[in-house]
């Protein structure tokens, strides 16, 4: 979908900016908002680029930096913390060889932390793209990552 089509779908109005940005980001391969897309959007919506970037950078779900094909969001809120989210984070960092906020060399995964995912009953939890995983253990996250790597290989 082109930028113009996305804007048409939601309506060319400032109020729809978040929904438009969501869609633009979903259609990119690297899960991020590109400079040239935003420039194009700025022209279509008659909004300064600074306004668009200012809005996008405020929200954690938008990224202005290229990310991996899969975004891992590990919950770091207190309910997950008391169930050992810190150990899970270490396991993930070790498995992927990156720190929080970084992307793996092969552009497969970006590791992020997030606030509460609302599945505290199965804490600790993480979300990979749209899928939520719960009751994580160090062994379990390694299996999940291995499985994803195998599927894409």
């Amino acid at each position: 979908m082109s930028i113009a089509e996305i804007v048409d779908k939601h309506g060319n109005h400032r109020e729809n900016l978040l929904n438009i940005l969501h869609d633009i980001q979903d259609f990119t391969a690297d899960n991020s908002l590109h400079q040239n897309d935003l420039q194009q959007l700025s022209q279509i919506m008659c909004l300064p680029v600074s306004e668009i970037v200012g809005t996008a950078s405020f929200y954690t779900m938008f990224s202005l930096q290229p990310r991996g094909r899969h975004v891992i969001r590990l919950c770091e809120s207190p309910p997950c913390y008391i169930k050992g989210a810190d150990n899970i984070l270490r396991a993930l960092e070790q498995k992927l060889g990156v720190k929080v906020g970084q992307t793996t060399q092969d552009h497969m995964f970006t590791l992020e932390t997030t606030s509460c995912l609302g599945v505290c009953g199965v804490a600790p939890a993480m979300m990979i793209d749209e899928v939520v995983y719960g009751n994580l253990t160090e062994a379990k996250v390694k299996t999940i990552i291995d499985e994803m790597m195998r599927q894409s290989a």
């Binding site: 940005l21 405020f58 809120s77 207190p78 913390y81 599945v119 009953g121 199965v122 804490a123």
Partner: protein
């Protein structure tokens, strides 16, 4: 249809989907089809039953049994044993609170469901079929309101019920509507706040996933009462299933004439749209939410003017929490007096809690206001999972940390206020002695530091200072005056921050100091000396070079 003798209700919500509920549901359908039972046994998707860690859950009606922790292997056995031979499959039978069979009579249903109001349909009906909601007295309240009552009468009824906002602050809902109703404007709006970001709270999510039409009905009633023809639901971007279910509910309601033009033959028009959030905790604050809905950075606005006068698009707007709106239909159906009779006098009705942490049965419960923490842990949570009670945090990260002394205080807005605490959003996090208070406090402050929107100076800088202090306490290298400084900064934030987010850290910090002073002091290193801070501009510049 008439020959259906067994209904299998599979809970499809955020928690069970993780455990593979969709696969189990397909497996049930396939197995039932294979044995040629499709006419007799019907498989239905429904919302949450409550337990959040019991894997895939399936209720069998009319027997009123619930199976939990289901695996693929169990499915053929349950079908063969229970559905064919009529013998209960004991191995996966779930103990504890389970949804009982659906009686025909509404009164009996209410008493049987432990007085559930908001969750009366969750786990019993298929949330993706409006017919089932209507069959359970759905949209009856709206019908009554539109055909028999004036807007003023509706507001009076809500005032009579004594319903208070369930988002955390506990403001009387009737009063809020009454502020908005008389304001003259070309257009007014009803906004449903479903930006549930408070860590440990997921009640709104499960309400939307289990009974989306109840929220829509509540919004329409509110719209009629205040004179608004448009409603918006602002849902967190992370809540995919909630967004899908609400979207489907809106489409069905339009098709059935529950939303749209000239509802129930009256002159009242009402439509609902969904707006998706993009991950910002501060957007749970109503004015920040409105800013975000207008497509801007979610920075809170100065109040007054309140949204009731100047809200979304600069017009009068009423913002209510999901749970608050979900209480409205039943009040209209059964009357404000009846509602007032439930719970405690100061906070009538029930409260939906999410109970979590080191307890046996974490999950979603709805109980009358006024039960104590001890009752919640022992009766609803199944007791401590391991170890003994150390502390609890009420109402999410922005809530008070309570010690064992507070186990017997009734949980309602007024009783807690008397002892200096707030009820908050409904999250109850129970912790045993394995959790170090100083670590926990640091995690809370790390969260606030990350979520501070940066609009006002006290919050932007104060959160950093607090995060650093709690970090030092955690590492056991805090300076001697750090505990005092921490309280000073927290109280300064409480008195000077622009919005409730900045005022929040005072709750966990001050209550932790109240109950766990000794533990906090353990983080202080008596030998540590605070590095000398630059006193003036010149020294700052020198330090920088």
């Amino acid at each position: 249809m008439s020959r259906t003798r067994i209904f299998v209700l599979i809970a499809i919500d955020a928690n069970t989907v993780i455990a593979g509920a969709r696969e189990i549901k397909n497996c049930f359908s396939a197995e039932i089809g294979r044995l040629g039972l499709s006419d007799e046994v019907q498989v239905i998707e429904t919302g949450s039953f409550g337990p959040a860690d019991a894997g895939v859950l399936a209720a069998v009606q009319p027997d009123g049994l619930v199976y939990g922790n289901l695996t693929m292997d169990d499915v053929p056995r349950i079908v063969a044993e229970h559905f064919v031979k009529g013998r209960v499959y004991q191995r996966r039978l779930l103990e504890g609170e389970v949804p009982p069979p659906a009686p025909d009579d509404a009164d009996a249903r209410h008493t049987q469901r432990h007085g559930r109001i908001v969750l009366e349909n969750c786990g019993r009906i298929d949330p993706e079929r409006i017919e089932e909601y209507i069959a359970n007295d759905g949209y009856l309240g709206l019908g009554r309101v539109l055909t028999e009552m004036t807007p003023t009468q509706v507001i009076d009824e809500i005032k009579t019920s004594g319903l208070r906002g369930r988002g955390g602050a506990g403001f009387p809902t009737g009063l809020k509507w009454a502020f908005c109703a008389p304001v003259k404007a070309r257009e007014k709006y009803v906004i449903c706040n479903a930006d549930e970001g408070e860590p440990g709270t997921f009640k709104d999510r499960l309400i939307m996933e289990g009974d989306p039409h109840k929220v829509l009905e509540g919004m329409a009633i509110c719209g009629y009462a205040i004179g608004a023809a448009r409603g918006y639901i602002y849902i967190r971007g992370e809540y995919r299933l909630s967004i899908d279910r609400m979207q489907r509910a809106i489409e069905q309601a339009r098709k059935f004439g529950m939303l749209g033009r000239k509802l129930f033959g009256s002159d009242f028009n009402f439509n609902v749209e969904i707006r998706k959030g993009a991950g910002a905790y501060v957007c749970g604050e109503e004015t920040a939410l409105i800013e975000s809905m207008e497509g801007k950075r979610g920075l809170p606005r100065l109040k007054p003017p309140f949204p009731a006068q100047v809200g979304f698009r600069g017009r009068p707007t009423n913002v209510n929490n999901v749970e608050t709106l979900a209480n409205v239909p039943v009040i209209m159906r059964r009357g404000g007096e009846w509602f007032r009779g439930l719970g405690t006098p100061g906070t009538p009705g029930t409260k939906v809690y999410t109970i979590l942490g080191h307890i046996r049965r974490p999950g979603l419960i709805e109980v009358p206001t006024g039960v104590t923490l001890r009752e919640i842990i022992n009766e609803y949570g199944g007791g401590m999972q391991a170890g003994s009670f150390h502390m609890a945090q009420l109402g999410g990260t922005a809530g008070d940390i309570l010690g064992a002394e507070m186990l017997d205080v009734p949980l309602d807005y007024d009783a807690l206020q008397k002892v200096g605490h707030v009820l908050g959003s409904g999250a109850i996090l129970i912790m045993n002695e394995t959790v170090n208070l100083r670590d926990f406090l640091h995690v809370c402050l790390r969260f606030f530091y990350h979520e501070s929107c940066g609009r006002c100076n006290p919050c932007r800088n104060g959160m950093r200072v607090l995060r650093d202090i709690t970090g030092r306490l955690k590492d056991g290298c805090a300076y001697r005056d750090d505990p005092l400084l921490m309280q000073e900064v927290a109280l300064m934030l409480k008195s000077s921050a622009f919005c409730p987010l900045g005022q929040s850290p005072a709750a966990p910090i001050m209550s932790a100091w109240r109950y766990f002073r000794d533990e906090i002091m353990l983080g202080v290193d008596a030998q540590a000396v605070r590095p000398r801070q630059p006193r003036n501009r010149r020294e700052t510049l020198q330090a920088a070079v």
